[in-house]
Symmetry: C2
DNA sequence: GAATTCAATTGCATTTTGCAAGTGATACCG
DNA sequence: CGGTATCACTTGCAAAATGCAATTGAATTC
C-alpha cells in the first residue's frame, strides 16, 4: 500500500490541540526566552525586545503553568522574584522552536548570528541535549528554592 | 569556550518573525489541511472540523499568499473554484508541523492514528519527501490551470 | 433561466489585546 | 527604622481582532 488515506484524524488533530495551547502571538516568544535565552523572571520577559504587555504576560505565564509547560518557584535569595523554568514537556518544545527558527532563517531577514544558526542546522540534537543538561543541572540555572 | 553568550539576537529573532506570520489560532491549521490532508479550496478549509469563519479564512489565505507560503490559481475544470497550493517556502514548514504533531501526541490526548504518528516519528524525512514529491507531480494534486 | 455552488464580503456583537496607571509585598539604603 | 526602589502582578479603559449570520456576484448545473 503506497498511501494510507490521510483523512480521518483531522477532528482531534494534534495540530489543533497544539494551537489551542501555543497558537498566539506571545506564548512561543516566552518559551524562546526561557529555553534559548536563559530568561526566567517576569521582568526578564517584559524586557524582551517585543515588549509584551504585563497583563498579557501574566495571563500567558499562568496558562503555560496550567498546561504543565512551565513551573515556578520563589527565589530563595530574593523573595520578590519568581523564577519560571520549563518542565520536561516544555523542554520537549525545543525541536518545534528550532525548526521554526531554521525555517525563518531560510526565508526571512533575521538578525540571528550565522554561527548559532549553522550549529542549529548541523546538530540540533546536540544543542537540545546541551540545553536539557543545563536545566537538569541546578548550578547552571537560577538558584532553586528549598522545595 | 564552552558556551557562546546567547543574548544578542533576541531583537530581530527568527521566532518573532515567524510568529508575526504564523502566530495565531488559524494559520497553521490551514497549512495542516494543505500540507497533510490534501485540501486545496476555500470550501475544503471551511469544512475542517475546527469551523473557521469565512472572513477569517479569506484574510488568512490572503496573508499566506502575501508571505509566499501559498499560491492560488483558478481551476480549469470549474472557474468558480480557486485551488491553493503550497510554495516551496510553504512545503518547508512541514518539519515545524511535524514536530508540533509529535510533541502534542506525546503530551496531549489526540485522535491521531498510532500508525501515522509512529511513521512520522520514525521517518519524518521520508514522509516529507513523499509529500514534496506529490506536490511536484501535477498528476497527484488537484489539476492545475494553464499558467 | 432558475436554483445551486463557490469564494468571498459586509455589518454587527463579542472577545481579546494593548496601554497606562496603580497595588501590595519585599528589598535596599542611609 | 523610614523612605524609596523593585518585583510581580492587577485594574480600567480604548482599540483591534474575532466570530457569526446574512449577503453578494460570478459560474455552473438542472
Amino acid at each position: 500500500m503506497p498511501e494510507p488515506q490521510p483523512q480521518s484524524w483531522r477532528s482531534a488533530c494534534p495540530v489543533n490541540i497544539a494551537l489551542e495551547i501555543l497558537g498566539d502571538r506571545w506564548t512561543l516568544l516566552i518559551l524562546r526566552d526561557v529555553l534559548l535565552f536563559q530568561r526566567s523572571t517576569f521582568k526578564d520577559f517584559q524586557e524582551s525586545p517585543e515588549k509584551i504587555a504585563s497583563n498579557i504576560l501574566a495571563d500567558r505565564l499562568k496558562k503555560l503553568q496550567q498546561h504543565g509547560i512551565l513551573e515556578s518557584h520563589r527565589s530563595e535569595s530574593d523573595a520578590r522574584v519568581i523564577a519560571y523554568r520549563p518542565t520536561t514537556k516544555g523542554l520537549d518544545l525545543l525541536p518545534v522552536l528550532i525548526e521554526l527558527i531554521l525555517w525563518t532563517d531560510r526565508y526571512e531577514e533575521t538578525g540571528a548570528p550565522r554561527r548559532s544558526i549553522a550549529r542549529l542546522r548541523r546538530a540540533p540534537h546536540e544543542v537540545i541535549a546541551e540545553i536539557k543538561a543545563a536545566f537538569a543541572d541546578p548550578t547552571k540555572v537560577a538558584k532553586r528554592s528549598g522545595k
